[in-house]
């Protein structure tokens, strides 16, 4: 389809300056698959997508079923978010082309038994299918899609200023573990407590989503998420600024859960984002593993941290990219838009 783009106005403080497009067709710039040591996190800010014609193009990428679902949604903002979430997934996956162009419209999805969306391939697609795993999360004001090349991944985001209707400690007593309730109760500042609650929620959601389960299949009271660094601080007053986040099952089978890696970010200045990926286990005899992440203004490159067990796991580096499909991308790793936060 031939398009004549008018000037697309994008807010200056978040993206590029004014652009004029005279594209003859919608074009998706290909992206290299994340290596086994990497995960990608793409995000989109719905408020920055204002072009009516662009939104129209987006609708044409969705399947009839998806368009029907979007049509059922009440409220323009919610409709827009639902549309953009599906567009982000389709276009992002299509960009990881290993063998020629993939039409985002051609991708098929299904849900697993617990409702987690997955890619579905026909038998004859084996040549061109990128081996990606993905997971999406969205609020009204941000949509995020995490991608790995083979590891299960779970992503969850929440707005930092989200208010909780119920009493936080009552809620935690009902749905979380005693250890987590204790940690929350120990926070006297109510705003800090609310933020810790949200971080904990996103981490727990990211975990059950990575497992492909969801809260119904894996109640939140069956596993505890905690900060190893916080415990170290409590015990001997020391500890770095990196929270090493771990998960253990309430019945004490820790070893089963040491293969999950968590990253907790403040994303776009407005949201908490939790990413959970399965680690790449490799028996090596070493007791250290290295971390590579953007730390806002303080990017320190590689940093060594003690392992959680005697296995040598290669942690995954997380690359954060902001995008508007068919318009452009901006790398956010190492900027204030993707800051690893304390837990």
């Amino acid at each position: 389809m031939n398009l004549l783009w008018r000037t697309v106005r994008i807010p200056m403080n978040t993206f590029c300056l004014h652009r004029t497009f005279a594209a003859s067709a919608l074009h998706l710039a290909p992206v290299q698959l994340p290596s086994r040591a990497e995960s990608h996190l793409w995000y989109l800010v719905p408020d920055e997508v204002k072009s009516v014609s662009l939104l129209g193009q987006y609708s044409e990428i969705l399947s009839p079923c998806e368009n029907e679902y979007v049509a059922c949604i009440r409220g323009e903002q919610l409709k827009k978010t639902a549309l953009l979430a599906r567009v982000l997934v389709r276009t992002t996956i299509a960009r990881y082309q290993t063998d020629g162009y993939i039409d985002p419209r051609s991708l098929k999805f299904r849900k697993n038994i617990h409702g987690k969306p997955e890619l579905e391939w026909d038998n004859d697609d084996s040549g061109s299918r990128p081996p990606v795993q993905f997971n999406i999360s969205h609020t009204a004001s941000l949509i995020a899609c995490g991608v790995t090349s083979s590891s299960p991944i779970g992503v969850d985001i929440e707005k930092k200023d989200r208010k909780i209707q119920n009493n936080i400690i009552s809620f935690a007593r009902r749905y979380f573990t005693p250890n987590e309730v204790e940690r929350l109760s120990s926070i006297s500042d109510l705003n800090v407590q609310r933020q810790h609650f949200l971080k904990l929620w996103t981490l727990k959601e990211a975990y059950v989503k990575a497992l492909g389960k969801g809260i119904s299949a894996l109640p939140f009271s069956t596993f505890t998420i905690k900060s190893r660094n916080f415990e170290k601080k409590e015990l001997n007053g020391s500890g770095d600024s990196d929270p090493e986040i771990t998960v253990e099952s309430v019945d004490g089978q820790r070893s089963l859960l040491s293969n999950w890696q968590f990253t907790l970010l403040e994303l776009a200045g407005t949201h908490f984002a939790a990413v959970c990926v399965a680690r790449d286990g490799s028996m090596g005899g070493k007791n250290m593993f290295n971390f590579g992440l953007g730390y806002g203004k303080h990017f320190t490159g590689l940093k060594s941290i003690l392992t959680v067990s005697d296995k040598c796991f290669t942690p995954k580096k997380l690359t954060v990219m902001k995008t508007i499909p068919f318009v452009g991308d901006e790398s956010m790793s190492g900027t204030d838009a993707a800051i690893v936060c304390g837990f």
């Binding site: 059922c72 949604i73 009440r74 409220g75 919610l78 617990h114 409702g115 609020t139 009204a140 929440e158 989200r162 909780i164 209707q165 119920n166 009552s170 809620f171 009902r174 749905y175 929620w201 959601e205 969801g214 809260i215 119904s216 299949a217 109640p219 939140f220 009271s221």
Partner: protein, 141 residues
Amino acid sequence: MATFTVGAPICTKPTTCSLKQAQGPSRLSSLRLISLPINSKNFPSLRSSKMPPRLQVFCAAKAETVSKVCEIVKKQLALPDDSEVTGESKFAALGADSLDTVEIVMGLEEEFGISVEEESAQSILTVQDAADLIEKLIEKK
């Protein structure tokens, strides 16, 4: 949403109440009101007689339950009072994410004095699903 009490004059729309016993999940999303020109003079026997308790509870509770669920949902999702939320409304289509759904379930637990296992939460897709589950749990108590 009106319940009716036998023995009192009722001003209602002249529609008939659906007296069908529900088989399995009910799809009643609005209460049909009975118009009963009851006057203790003309129907003295009705003064002390009652409708079969099961039928009375059935007609009123379902709609009232749905109504309360709608109220809790609107509050959680900060929807205006006049927004259209009915038994058929899907939580996801109203903009509820997973945290909203759990908060709503917790609100329902407190409102109705029940306990909803997380495993059941997966089957709650609409307001009616929630109301039906509440009824089931109340009955079990």
